[in-house]
């Protein structure tokens, strides 16, 4: 069973992420754990030491606990089996990282609303948390139905890694999968090619998946500008991709990921 950590804040992004994660539990064998980190003031310093500090931290946690309890209560109908949320105090990224390492989670889920400008996603991908996170991450940008998911691939990527990571998460899942090869070109020339025109990588991944008893429903190639391809991929309940932390903001692959409004599953390269 997949051990999944969902980060919660008292906001809309977390509420969407939680609802989405609960949907995931219906198709993947996973146990959800939730965590919230109450951050000290912006200067990062807690007042005093010993009893003073502990009292201060307790007071902070109580406030956070109440807000998260409200969030959980609101989502309880869609996620009845949710356990209590782990409350931590400190730097958000450090605490989550420590928690993931300590408990050896297989998957991390957090909400981040889809943004017109790519900066937000770029900052997230280059954050300390994501640079050191040992497991795949789902960034939930919108709440969508999880009927069909897409695994997107490109030329220069070694194909066995995304397949093995995909299988680790989705083994036994009841989902329809499309395998999509993305090729970038100038805007205004969006085109699609079906299975019979599939290239070597697409065929190799398909073969690899079939060997593991995963039969993609469709395999196709999309050619277009990142925003055009992103728009096409909105029909999927999740888009999975391999990604390197050092990806540049201007690269087509990053632009594509930032334009996809659906949740994205990132396997780290």
């Amino acid at each position: 069973m997949l051990k999944t950590l969902v980060y919660l804040n008292a906001d809309l992004a977390s509420s969407i992420a939680l609802r989405y994660a609960c949907q995931l539990t219906h198709v993947i064998k996973m146990k959800l754990h939730t965590v919230h980190v109450e951050e000290p003031d912006h200067d990062g310093y807690a007042p005093g030491t010993g009893w003073v500090r502990r009292t201060w931290e307790d007071a902070m946690l109580k406030t956070g606990e109440f807000e998260i309890a409200q969030l959980i209560k609101a989502e309880k109908s869609s996620c009845p089996r949710l356990g209590p949320t782990k409350m931590l105090v400190g730097d958000r990224e450090n605490e989550i990282l420590r928690e993931i390492q300590r408990e050896s989670y297989d998957l991390f889920v957090e909400g981040s609303l889809h943004s017109f400008t790519p900066k937000k996603l770029y900052d997230k991908i280059h954050s300390r948390l994501y640079r050191h996170i040992p497991c795949p991450v789902i960034v939930v940008k919108n709440l969508v139905n999880l009927e069909k998911i897409a695994l997107i691939v490109r030329d220069e990527v070694e194909y066995k890694k995304p397949v093995s990571m995909f299988l680790k998460i989705f083994s036994g899942a009841k989902l329809n999968l499309d395998l999509i090869y993305c090729k970038f070109q100038e805007p205004g020339k969006l085109s699609f090619k079906g299975q019979k025109d599939a290239n070597g990588i697409l065929n190799a991944i398909k073969k690899n998946l079939i060997e593991q008893d995963w039969h993609p429903e469709d395999c196709w190639t999309i050619q277009g500008a990142p925003e055009e391809i992103g728009d096409v991929l909105r029909d999927y309940g999740m888009v999975a991709s391999l990604l390197h932390h050092s990806i540049s903001k201007k690269s087509n692959w990053f632009q594509l990921l930032s334009h996809i409004p659906s949740p994205i599953l990132i396997f780290w390269q």
């Binding site: 809309l12 889809h114 017109f116």
Partner: protein, 293 residues
Amino acid sequence: MRILVAVDQHPYSAHVVKDVAKLAGNTWADVTLVGVGPKMTYIGQPSNKAEKKHPLTKALRNYRRNFLDYFEKEESPYEKRACNYEFVEVKRGVWEELYICRGAMKDLKIVLRSGNPVKEILAQSQEDDSDLIAMGCYKSGDCQWEGAVNIPQKVANNAACSVLVIKKEKKIRKIACCLDQENISQKSIEMINQMVTLYQTELEIVGLTDGTALKPMVEKNLDAILKYYNARQIKAWIKLVDVASMASFISQEARRSMMALWMGEHSLLSKMFPRGKVDKLIRGSESSVLLLR
């Protein structure tokens, strides 16, 4: 709900009438079709030549027919019912056969006015206390009416109620609703709901941020609106846009989506598109525009 449809005799107006008929079919709105033409003499008599010469009378009659044709006669709320003798209980146990003429359940008014088109359309909307003014325009160029300058723009600038400018023959793929204020009326949420149903399209709710985060009340509203639409099986997406990027977002999005903007008193959008500058938005947009007030 009362909808005012401002028309002339050109094809984009015929297109709007069709769309409004569908909208009215969902909302059972009272509808006024208003045409503004040159100064007219008395045209009440069917034989009067002024009626035949007036460019709008024929068009308005056709629009009324087209509007009513959208509905099944038996089910139409706008259909005038025939007069019949019916037994009515006048006192307990006493029935009398009376000659009853039942009116239409909903009002469809056809009005012809003369004068300055913008002033007359606005005057009619005030007299009717309209919730929405709908009008069409040429898709190409900058959204004009035949033989007149900037009529949709001027109406949109000055109307007290919501305005829908429909560009002919543009398939609406998505409705992008921009939201940045704290008080969103149930009426305007319903209006968006109707537009989504009318055009069978997806909805994108756009939250305006100051570069870092949404205002807490706006975020709360987004959450409530999202839940409201999800409960009605309407696919709604959320997208955040920085105020600084709003202009480029609108120019990019307006190519393929109907833009719906909440122009409340405290809205940043009202500051970006104050009365007098809304025309820029309508001219620049390739798709239809809905201004919610």
